[in-house]
């Protein structure tokens, strides 16, 4: 039977009960009838975690430590968004030295998270490896490069945050303690080495064989003139949106789908959108430092990348950026004195948005006059990306129907992994059933 006749005659269901090499636990179902992809559902079955309800009645000062527990990979993102939200509600600005130190801490998280996703979760897709263990066996140099980069990210996070995972030095208004010159200067050499490793990573991943696929994305990311976005900015989109975090929060509609413990987000009147490296790059490539722009050009990227499989190259370019930015901040470091500004409580609503490694993360809190949380809303990048990931899946599956079941399943999983979803944050794997009537 030829692939074409098989496609016409069979009803196929790609049903993956636990998507591999993603953060968290989700399942996938793609229905194909008569050669046409029908229903596509990326479902999240991790138990709901009720963090927004947990925050009610807690003091605003507790939010960085409570929300950091949402994720072991990107706790800094939660801490940064929590601080931005409370400071917005209390109308406090922290000034440049604290902002720079926050940005340095965030660089540590971007380095470790991107290094991990590129080397352990995403690269095996392009090299035909089942997992990171097979990759490590076949390409020890690449694996060890990934581990060295991750260690450097951890080192930066630990030096600034006091701990590599769930840092303890972050507080509303700044930090509990400013690291001294010596502690920060000691990071320069390992970060310089990491920058070289990041450049090697761009070269490595840009040589992979990428399936042809161009998607029409509605990109959404922070924009912060003069700098690649990370800890602050306005929220812009590829179709002309330009809003404050509060204005954007008003536009985002989150819907509960019965099959999922994660909410699916869309922009009112604009439908699905995509945040994360592809969006940040498309909307901010001109803000990248020269070394990252050159790496992007060598890696075959234009100013916009719409092939989701090439997101690994964009992520590697962001790795170069994060190392370069960390080095810049290390070399210009002045310990913030005092390490935190006072944030007197007041009644009000605040919204804060920052760029987690996986994309835009915004929080919105209502505080009472004593600084206790009355209501909280936390919208992680994966919730915002789920609808677009499903659209990608539909297109990827439709283009790959000639493939045998096993390869189709693999391709569908790849379509999900392209966007590095953190399902644990949004509230993980694939198993194929073929039904031939």
């Amino acid at each position: 039977m030829t692939g074409g006749s098989r496609r016409r005659r069979r009803r196929r269901t790609v049903a993956i009960e636990g998507i591999s090499r993603v953060e968290g636990e989700g399942s996938l179902r793609v229905e194909v009838t008569g050669g046409v992809v029908g229903d596509v559902a990326l479902s999240v079955f991790e138990p709901p975690r009720f963090f927004e309800a947990l925050l009610k009645g807690r003091k605003a000062a507790e939010t960085p430590d409570i929300t950091a527990r949402i994720c072991g990979i990107c706790p800094v993102a939660y801490q940064m968004s929590a601080c931005a939200t409370v400071e917005d509600a209390c109308d406090v600005s922290v000034g440049a030295p604290i902002t720079d130190l926050r940005r340095l801490l965030y660089c540590g998280e971007w380095i470790q998270s991107h290094a991990l996703h590129i080397h352990l979760l995403h690269a095996p897709d392009f090299l035909g490896c089942a997992d990171a263990v097979e990759l490590a066996t076949r390409d020890r140099v690449a694996f060890e490069r990934g581990m060295a980069l991750k260690r450097t990210g951890n080192l930066v996070t630990e030096a600034i945050g006091g701990r590599a995972i769930h840092p303890v030095n972050v507080r509303i208004g700044g930090f509990y303690r400013s690291p001294d010159h010596h502690q920060v200067a000691a990071l320069a050499e390992p970060v310089r080495r990491a920058l070289d490793l990041a450049l090697d990573t761009v070269e490595w991943v840009s040589g992979f064989d990428f399936p042809d696929l161009e998607s029409e994305y509605r990109f959404v990311a922070l924009r912060s003139p003069g700098r690649y976005p990370m800890e602050s900015g306005r929220i812009v989109s590829s179709d002309g949106l330009d809003a404050s975090p509060a204005g954007f929060a008003d536009l985002v509609i989150e819907e509960h789908l019965a099959r999922s413990t994660a909410l699916h987000a869309r922009i009112e009147g604009r439908f699905a959108y995509l945040t994360g490296p592809l969006a940040r790059y498309a909307l901010n490539a001109s803000e990248l430092p020269e070394v990252a722009r050159q790496a992007a050009t060598r890696g075959g990227l234009g100013n916009v990348c719409v092939n989701p499989f090439r997101s690994i190259v964009v992520r590697a370019v962001e790795l170069v950026f994060a190392c370069h930015e960390a080095l810049r901040l290390i070399e210009s470091y002045e310990p913030p004195d005092p390490p935190a500004v006072a944030v007197p409580p007041r009644a009000g609503v605040g919204t804060g948005a920052t760029e987690a490694p996986r994309g835009l993360l915004f929080h919105q809190y209502e505080l009472d006059r004593d600084g206790a949380i009355v209501a909280a809303r936390i919208v992680p990048p994966t919730s915002q990306n789920l609808a677009t990931i499903e659209s990608d899946l539909r297109r990827v599956a439709q283009n790959a129907l000639e493939l045998p079941d096993e390869e189709l399943t693999w391709r569908c999983e790849q379509a999900v992994r392209n966007h590095d979803p953190c399902i644990s944050c949004a509230a993980h794997f694939l198993d194929v059933t073929v039904v031939a009537p």
Binding site: G18, I19, S20, R21, V22, E23, G24, E25, C71, G72, I73, L116, L120, L121, A130, D131, A132, V133, E134, A136, T137, R140, F143, E144, M147, K150, R151, N154, E158, R163, A164, I165, I423, S424, H428, F429
Partner: protein
């Protein structure tokens, strides 16, 4: 924690106490590691690891790696169990790295598989498990686990002595 018994190390040995001292009996691993440092000369306690991936670096080029951790297997609380990963099969978790896991939940067995894949695995890995009971919030071990700590530390010291 690394070092050997005696002034001239002949073997490179690393003992790691895994666990969170702020989750009651999960602090058994760090408590044993601290006690081994007191029992055996030439050993320094570097404190608990934040990230299991750090084991890869610590393990590189070692002859013996001991991992001490609290376990929950259904045995009597305070039971100390030694698993020699050279002779006993490496336990493969239900959701191992090869299949479904995220990097949120990587365990010792996955790290050993990775270390073996890159040729950096210790010559011998022994896991010392101490059966815990209370993994709630707060510091301090439950009585049976506290009582088991010196016993487990002595077994680790004996392993170091045999390897020394």
């Amino acid at each position: 924690m690394s070092g050997t018994r005696g002034a001239v190390p002949r073997q490179r040995i690393v003992v790691v106490g895994m666990g969170n001292v702020y989750r009651r009996d999960d602090g058994a691993g760090p408590a044993v590691a601290a006690r081994v440092a007191a029992l055996v000369g030439g050993v320094s306690d570097r404190g608990p690891l934040a990230d299991p991936f750090d084991l890869l670096g610590l393990w590189a080029g070692t002859d013996l790696a001991v991992v001490v951790d609290a376990v929950r297997s259904g045995a009597e609380v305070g039971t100390v169990r030694l698993i020699d990963l050279d002779t006993d099969p490496v336990p493969v978790p239900a959701r191992a790295l090869a299949g479904t896991t995220s990097t949120h939940g990587i365990g010792v067995a996955d790290i050993l598989r990775l270390a073996r894949a890159v040729g950096n695995a210790p010559k011998r890995v022994v896991v010392v498990g101490i059966e815990g009971n209370d993994f709630g919030q707060g510091t301090g071990l439950s009585p049976a686990v506290r009582h088991a700590v010196p016993h487990a530390a002595q077994q680790v010291a004996d392993l170091i002595g045999e390897a020394g």
